[in-house]
Amino acid sequence: MVEHDDMREPLGQDGIAPGASPDDVAAGPSSDPAKADTISSVVSPHPYAAEMRRRRLAAEAQGRARRETLLYLDGVTKSFDGFKAINNLSLVIERGEMRAIIGPNGAGKTTMMDIITGKTRPDRGAVYFNGAVDLTKHDEAAIASMGIGRKFQKPTVFESHTVEDNIRLSLAGPRSVVEALVHRKSTAERERIAEILATIRLTDKRRTFAANLSHGQKQWLEIGMLLAQDPELLLVDEPVAGMTDAETVETARLLREIAATRSVVVVEHDMSFVRELSVKVTCLHEGSVLSEGTLEAVSNDPKVIEVYLGR
C-alpha cells in the first residue's frame, strides 16, 4: 500500500485532491473546453495561440488523468461484423482499487477484458496501463509480464500438472525458453509457492493433478496462478460461477485479501457476491457504461433495473 500512496502524493500537488473519485478523473479527457478558453483568452491574445494552448491544456489534463490511474480506457469501440460489442467505453481504475463489473449477458464484459489483455485489438479508443503504457500496442505475453493477470470465464488450468507445478509455471520471472530448459528449483521459489498455496487454500492439494480438483478449487488455483505472476492488476471473470455458497463466501474473502495489495476488477453476475465485496460497481450494457457508483446507487438506478436487475 505504501507504494500506492507514494504514487498518489504528487497528484495532490497537481491540483486534484488525492481522494478524487475516479469519475472526476475520468472527466479529464473530455474536460470542459469553455473553461479552458476563458483561461487562454486572458493569457494569450492571438486566437491561434489560444487554440494551441487550449489543445495543450486538454492534452495535459488527459495525460494527467492517465498518469494518475492504473487502468484507463477512453472511447474504446470494438465491433464484430458490424455488431458493436464495445461501444465508446470509458472506464478508469485507480491504484489499489477493487471494482465490480456487472451487466447482462453479451454486455461486453469479457470483450473488455480481451481488449485490456491484448487478445483483441479495439477499433478505436485509448487503453493505457500505469499512465504511460499503451496496451493496444502489446501482445498478451507482454501485457501479462507488465503486471496484468487474467482469470478466464471458464476456469483454465494445466490439467495434467500438479497444483504446485501450475503455480510454478506462473511464478514471476524470466520467460525465455532457454532459461526454462536449464531452470533449477530454488528455496525462494518453494517458499513463494507455499505462500500462494496457503492464500488460495490449496496447501494440502499441492501434489494433486489439477484435473482432479473440484470446479471451485480450479477457480482458486487459477487465481493463485495470477497471484504467482505478482501482478499490479487482476482481471477476474466470473470467479464464482458454478460455486457452492460456502465456496462463494470463501472466494469473496480471498479476493478482498488480494485487493489489499493489488487492484482487482471482478466481473460477476452473482449479486450477493458483489454485495459481499462491497466495492464500487460499474454496470455495462451494450458495450458501454450504463451506471457507476456504490452497489446501492447502481441497483436503484432505473436504467439498470430496466435492462438488468428487473428481469
Partner: protein, 387 residues
C-alpha cells in the same frame, strides 16, 4: 547421481536396453558362427538398423506431438532431407567407380549431360560437412516453417495440413531431374562410408550400433527436455495454450524450439537410414510416410517417451511380416490399426499400461488411507489430454 535422479529410472532403463542392443546385435552377427543358435544372420542387421532409425524418427515426432500437441504430418520430410544430405556424401564417395567413370560427377549428372557439379553439391565430399548439413538443413527448414506458422498462430488441423503440404511440395520438387538430386531414381549405388565398404557385414554392424547410440542420445535429450521446466511448459502449451500466453509465456517460442529440435533428430534418423537401406529417393517424402510415423507414435503411446519407440519397432516388424504375406494390403492394415488404436487404445500401449498402473496405485493408496496408514496426496491419476 543427481543427473541420474533427474532423468528418472525409466529413461535409464531404456538407454541401457538400447546400448545393450548396440553391443549384442553386432556380437551375435560377427562373433558367433553361422551354425550357433544365437547367431544373427547378416540380412537382419540392416533391417533392425532401419527399425532403430524409425524409432528415432518416432521419438522426434513424440517431442512435438506428444508433449507440445503439434500434430506434424510432415516429419517424413525432415527425415528424407537428412537422408539426402547423407546420400550426397555417399554419392561423392563413389568417385570414378560409377558406371560412367566420372571422378567428380555422379552418374545421373553425366547422364543428364551436366558439365559441372551444382554449387549446392560442393562440400559434400567431406563427411563433417555432410554431417553438419544432415542437422542444419532439416533444422533450418523447420525453423523457418515454424517461425511463420506458429507466429501466425496456425494450430490444430490447419497446421497438420500445411505440414503435409510441405512434404508433398518437397516430394514434387525432388522428383524433378533438374533439381540435381537424381530425380525419380534418387541417390543409390553407394560404395563406401568413411572408407568402409558399405555392404560389408562389419560396416553394417557398425551402422546398427551408430543408430542405437543416436537413439540413446535422442532418448536422453528428450528425457532431459521433457523433465525440465520447459517440458512442463510444453505440456501446458499442449493443454491450455491461451493460459500460457496470459501468464506471460510465448507459446510460439516453445513450439519453435521443440519443432526445430525434433526436425534435427528426424534428419539424423534419415542420415542413418540411408546407408543401411542403400538408397534415398523422393518417395521418402510421400505424405503417407509421415502419416505412418504418427501411427507408430499413436500405437506405442504418445507423450510417453518409450511408447513411440516401441510403436515404431512393433509396427515396422508387423509391416515386414505382413508385406511378405500380402504385399498389397499393408495400407489397409495400417489404416485399420490407426482406427483400432484411436477407438480402443487412445493412450497407446505404454499410455494404457501407465494409466492402469497409476490407477492401481491410487486405489491402493486410498485403501491404505482408510486403514489409517499414512498416505500422501490423493487420487493422483494423470488424466489423458484427449479426454
Amino acid at each position: 547421481m543427481i543427473i541420474a535422479r533427474f532423468l528418472g529410472p525409466r529413461v535409464w532403463i531404456l538407454v541401457g536396453l538400447i546400448l545393450a542392443a548396440a553391443v549384442l546385435v553386432p556380437l551375435a552377427n560377427l562373433a558367433l558362427p553361422p551354425g550357433h543358435p544365437l547367431h544373427m544372420p547378416s540380412y537382419l542387421v540392416p533391417l533392425f538398423g532401419k527399425y532403430v532409425t524409425y524409432a528415432l524418427l518416432a521419438l522426434a515426432l513424440d517431442l512435438v506431438w506428444g508433449y507440445v500437441g503439434i500434430l506434424s504430418l510432415g516429419h517424413g520430410a525432415f527425415f528424407a532431407l537428412g537422408g539426402y544430405a547423407m546420400g550426397m556424401y555417399l554419392m561423392r564417395q563413389i568417385g570414378s567407380r560409377g558406371v560412367y567413370g566420372n571422378p567428380i560427377l555422379p552418374d545421373f549428372m553425366v547422364f543428364l549431360n551436366w558439365k559441372a557439379l551444382p554449387w549446392y553439391w560442393s562440400g559434400f565430399d567431406a563427411f563433417w560437412f555432410a554431417a553438419l548439413m544432415v542437422m542444419l538443413v532439416p533444422g533450418l527448414l523447420a525453423f523457418v516453417f515454424g517461425f511463420f506458422a506458429f507466429r501466425s498462430r496456425v494450430t490444430g488441423v490447419y497446421l497438420s495440413i500445411i505440414t503435409q503440404a510441405m512434404t508433398y511440395a518437397l516430394l514434387l520438387a525432388f522428383f524433378r531431374n533438374d533439381m540435381g538430386f537424381g530425380g525419380n531414381n534418387g541417390l543409390t549405388d553407394f560404395k563406401d562410408i568413411l572408407g568402409f565398404p558399405i555392404q560389408a557385414a562389419a560396416t553394417r554392424a557398425g551402422l546398427f550400433s551408430a543408430s542405437c547410440i543416436a537413439l540413446a542420445i535422442g532418448v536422453l535429450l528428450v528425457g532431459w527436455i521433457t523433465r525440465s521446466k520447459l517440458g512442463k511448459l510444453m505440456i501446458a502449451v499442449r493443454d491450455a495454450e491461451s493460459r500460457t500466453r496470459f501468464i506471460g509465456w510465448r507459446p510460439e517460442d516453445v513450439k519453435l524450439f521443440a519443432f526445430t529440435v525434433s526436425a534435427v533428430m528426424a534428419g539424423i534418423a534419415g542420415a542413418l537410414y540411408v546407408p543401411q537401406v542403400g538408397i534415398i529417393n523422393p518417395s521418402e517424402f510421400a505424405p503417407v510416410n509421415s502419416i505412418e510415423v504418427v501411427v507408430w507414435a499413436a500405437v506405442g503411446g504418445r507423450g510417453t517417451l518409450i511408447g513411440p519407440i516401441l510403436g515404431a519397432l512393433l509396427v515396422n516388424y508387423g509391416k515386414t511380416v505382413f508385406t511378405a504375406i500380402a504385399p498389397d494390403s499393408w495400407l489397409f492394415v495400417l489404416g485399420g490399426l490407426f482406427v483400432f488404436v484411436t477407438l480402443v487404445l487412445p493412450r497407446g500401449i505404454v499410455g494404457t499400461i501407465d494409466h492402469g498402473w497409476d490407477a492401481w496405485r491410487a486405489r491402493r493408496r486410498s485403501a491404505a488411507k482408510e486403514k489409517g496408514e499414512s498416505g500422501d496426496g490423493d487420487g493422483s491419476i494423470l488424466p489423458h489430454p484427449a479426454e
